[in-house]
């Protein structure tokens, strides 16, 4: 390794050294040297040519979220880089390990409004864990190594490396003997012993304790520990939107999802509990509702690897900074066994009297296709066949998926939670499909979100990906906004009525199988056909248009005040 290499070759070499197996991107002027060098590395790592940089970013996220490894996306300067901003923000909000590599104009013209110049490090400063503007070839190995180190240690997140074209073109002998100099970056993984004992004391004395499990449990690979801890203590377990799959929902201690579209009994239990043990969740406002009225009787224990999350939204009595797995292991050791049957019985009673899924199960007598017909069939199929990942988009269909599918394994439910990025699902599925070619990757999305990024179908076809099945819950509206307009704005449907193409024919135009389902009888057959077809399938489920997601906490209200069903005279959702 004493030969001189170009900066671009050094970039490729650095990726290989980081164990990168796939990157998602689009070439362009300022990143062309990297693509020139990449040609020689096509046996070392795979490059997926996306149709839009946003798609490349979400694909990298889908890869990262399903595998736990770092997703890598690449774009050129200017518009290429700014198109990555949405997925970077998404990764930031959902703590997804992502490294974004962008080309920058030559260092000689940086700051002079050169062609396709954008200050992407300035733009992404608030939405990255860290970012770099690399102007010298000497700095490339270090910057890339540090970026990968930061992206997936501590609380994971996105890191951007912006490399000028002249640094990519320069030649030098790389020095791989890199010692990271990050004296200020020391994530705490071991929970403080004293605080862990304090937590044990609180939990042991609690009459009505609850465990709330978030994304941190999944990212730490702590689902076994969570299960052991719950079983040892008999404490009921809530799983947040991003915690779905961290604890099997068919487990006797699982009570379900909290929050804006969580179940009534779960939110009531939170309002009644005396100790709330939150592990790996960040008390997002979609979970807490009005924070000042959240869990008023609870003494809160909060385990998070990021100290800044503790006490940010909810007052916390016992803060534990650490890795969910390590902390749970310590807690299992310290915690005496206990059973809390009375409390659990109480929650189950609440559940029985506010039978959450009932309104979906008690199907009104109509020939129209209802969204939950699709979910019922999908849930049956997924449970029977196993071996799946589900990627959802953002909106009503997303909440129905969270509610109506029985989640049981970590990293099988992938969605854009914090950022709520419509258009996330199709490209994220592309990333997941590349990571898991032998599994069935289901996309559940709305007709609105699908129209934002469906161009990645072309990528899916070009890459020969055959294991993605897309279910569009097509109601011809921006449904969640329409729901709010209906419930809170007196049915003033301002700009939510949404037309679209014939999705089946659009799919066919992309060269994938397209199906349309308009009646309940067609649902099972279409899903079956999707499995039988060796290739990507798009199913356009044309559902009844004005069905709402319930229960629901109106924005700014306490989670104790849920709207449990359609509030007007018409209890019938088809009205």
């Amino acid at each position: 390794m004493s030969d001189k290499m170009t900066g671009a070759h050094i970039m490729c070499e650095a990726l290989v050294r980081e164990g990168v197996e796939v990157i998602f991107g689009i070439p362009g002027g300022a990143i062309m040297p990297f693509y020139y060098a990449m040609y020689e590395y096509r046996d070392k790592f795979r490059h997926i040519l996306c149709r839009h940089e946003q798609g490349a970013g979400h694909a990298a996220e889908g890869y990262a979220r399903t595998t736990g490894r770092i997703g890598v996306c690449v774009a050129t300067s200017g518009p290429g880089a700014t198109n990555l901003v949405t997925p970077i923000a998404d990764a930031w909000m959902d703590s997804t390990p992502l490294v974004a590599i962008t080309g920058q104009v030559s260092s000689l013209v940086v700051g002079k409004d050169a062609f396709q110049e954008t200050d992407i490090t300035g733009i992404t400063m608030p939405i990255t864990k860290h970012n770099y503007l690399v102007k010298r070839i000497e700095d490339i190995p270090y910057a890339i190594k540090e970026a990968f180190f930061l992206a997936n240690t501590g609380r994971p997140g996105p890191v951007l490396v912006d490399i000028t074209k002249d640094a990519q073109q320069a030649r030098a002998v790389p020095n791989w003997n890199i010692k990271l100099a990050l004296p200020g970056y020391k994530p705490t993984t071991q929970g403080n012993r004293k605080q862990i004992r304090a937590a044990v004391e609180l939990l042991t004395a609690a009459q009505k304790p609850l465990i709330m499990a978030g994304n941190g449990v999944i990212m730490a690979g702590a689902t076994e520990e969570l299960r052991a801890f719950a079983e040892r203590t008999g404490i009921p377990v809530i799983t947040t939107l991003h915690g779905l799959g961290a604890f099997p929902e068919d487990h006797p201690l699982s009570i379900g999802m909290p929050g804006m579209h969580g179940w009534v009994h779960v939110n009531r239990a939170i309002q009644e509990c005396d100790v709330l043990f939150n592990i790996g969740g960040r008390f997002d406002d979609r979970v807490t509702g009005k924070a000042s009225t959240f869990a008023p009787n609870a003494r809160v224990i909060h385990v998070d690897i990021d100290p800044s999350e503790i006490g940010k939204n909810v007052r916390t009595e016992v803060p534990i900074v650490g890795d969910a797995k390590v902390v749970l292991q310590a807690l299992i050791e310290e915690m005496p066994t206990r059973v809390a049957t009375e409390w659990m019985q109480h929650i189950r009673q609440l559940q029985a009297t506010h039978q959450p899924k009932q309104q979906y199960l008690n199907r009104p007598d109509t020939n129209q296709l209802l969204p939950h017909d699709v979910y019922a069939a999908l849930n049956r199929t997924l449970n029977e066949r196993g071996n799946y990942r589900v990627i959802t988009d953002v909106g009503q269909h997303q909440m129905w998926a969270a509610q109506l599918i029985d989640w049981s394994r970590p990293r099988t439910h992938i969605t854009s939670g914090g950022s709520g990025t419509m258009g996330f699902s199709v490209p994220a599925a592309l990333g997941a499909a590349i990571a898991y070619p032998d599994e069935t990757i289901w996309v559940i999305c709305g007709d609105g979100g699908f129209q934002m990024t469906n161009q990645e179908l072309a990528t899916i076809v070009q890459e020969g990906i055959t294991n993605i099945k897309i279910a569009i819950i097509n109601n011809g509206y921006l449904g969640m906004v329409r729901q709010w307009q209906e419930l809170f704005e007196d049915r003033r449907y301002s700009h939510t009525l949404l037309s679209g193409p014939d999705f089946a024919r659009l799919a066919q135009a992309y060269g994938v199988c397209g199906l349309t389902v308009e009646t309940i009888d067609g649902v099972e057959a279409a899903i079956e056909a999707a499995y039988n077809h060796n290739g990507t399938v798009v199913i356009d489920f044309r559902v009844e248009r004005e069905v709402n997601v319930f229960p629901m906490v109106p924005q700014g209200k306490s989670i104790g005040d849920m709207i449990e069903q359609q509030p007007t005279e018409e209890a019938n959702p088809t009205a």
């Binding site: 400063m125 608030p126 002998v173 020095n175 890199i178 100099a181 990050l182 200020g184 970056y185 100290p307």
Partner: protein, 180 residues
């Protein structure tokens, strides 16, 4: 709301000040004063900031999320030396010049420039004292003023040293590797 004085040590890397300032803006922290400069340790900058907040703990925690930040200390309740400097260009006439000179002497301030219709006073002291001086001198007509914001250092043997956090050979710059 209580005012807090924080002392932060951070690696002197490109963009670190922007990162800190951008953080305060987007998190909605109300910064009254922010001063940054070199510390005793090469490669380490020292920032003094005064923040008006009920949630100063969040400010500290958010600062720690910046990878360059080495140490943040809330010195509000510690015995500390706090100083600020102001350069004040005061309007003066032949008749009131001596009055301004007298006031300047009373405040232990320095006159650093004298012209026919103006005087520049360099006032250094505790932020309160600087404020007092500014209030007293204002009726004469302040033509220009520049205040530095406060810097703080805890009294006694206790230290906030950059070298506690940064190795001598690790100067904190990205350009750490040597080249053959």
């Amino acid at each position: 709301m209580k005012k807090h004085t924080l002392v932060a040590l951070m690696q002197d890397r490109p963009g670190v000040l922007t990162r800190a300032v951008s953080l305060f803006r987007r998190r909605g922290f109300n910064i009254e004063s922010l001063t940054v400069g070199h510390s005793e340790t090469p490669g380490v900058s020292r920032m003094t900031l005064v923040v008006e907040s009920e949630a100063v703990e969040q400010v500290v925690k958010q600062l720690y999320r910046l990878v360059e930040v080495l140490k943040v200390s809330d010195v509000t309740d510690d015995p500390a030396v706090e100083r600020e400097m102001a350069l004040v260009k005061v309007h003066c006439t032949n008749t009131n010049r001596s009055e301004i000179v007298t006031l300047t002497q009373l405040f232990d301030a320095k006159i650093v420039d004298v012209a026919s219709t103006s005087i520049i006073v360099e006032m250094t002291g505790s932020p309160n004292k600087v404020q007092n001086f500014v209030d007293v001198i204002r009726p004469f007509g302040i033509k220009e003023m520049m205040r530095t914001g406060r810097v703080a250092m805890v009294r006694g043997a206790r230290t906030h040293q950059g070298s506690d956090y940064v190795g001598v050979e690790e100067n904190g710059h990205v350009a750490a590797p040597t080249w053959n």
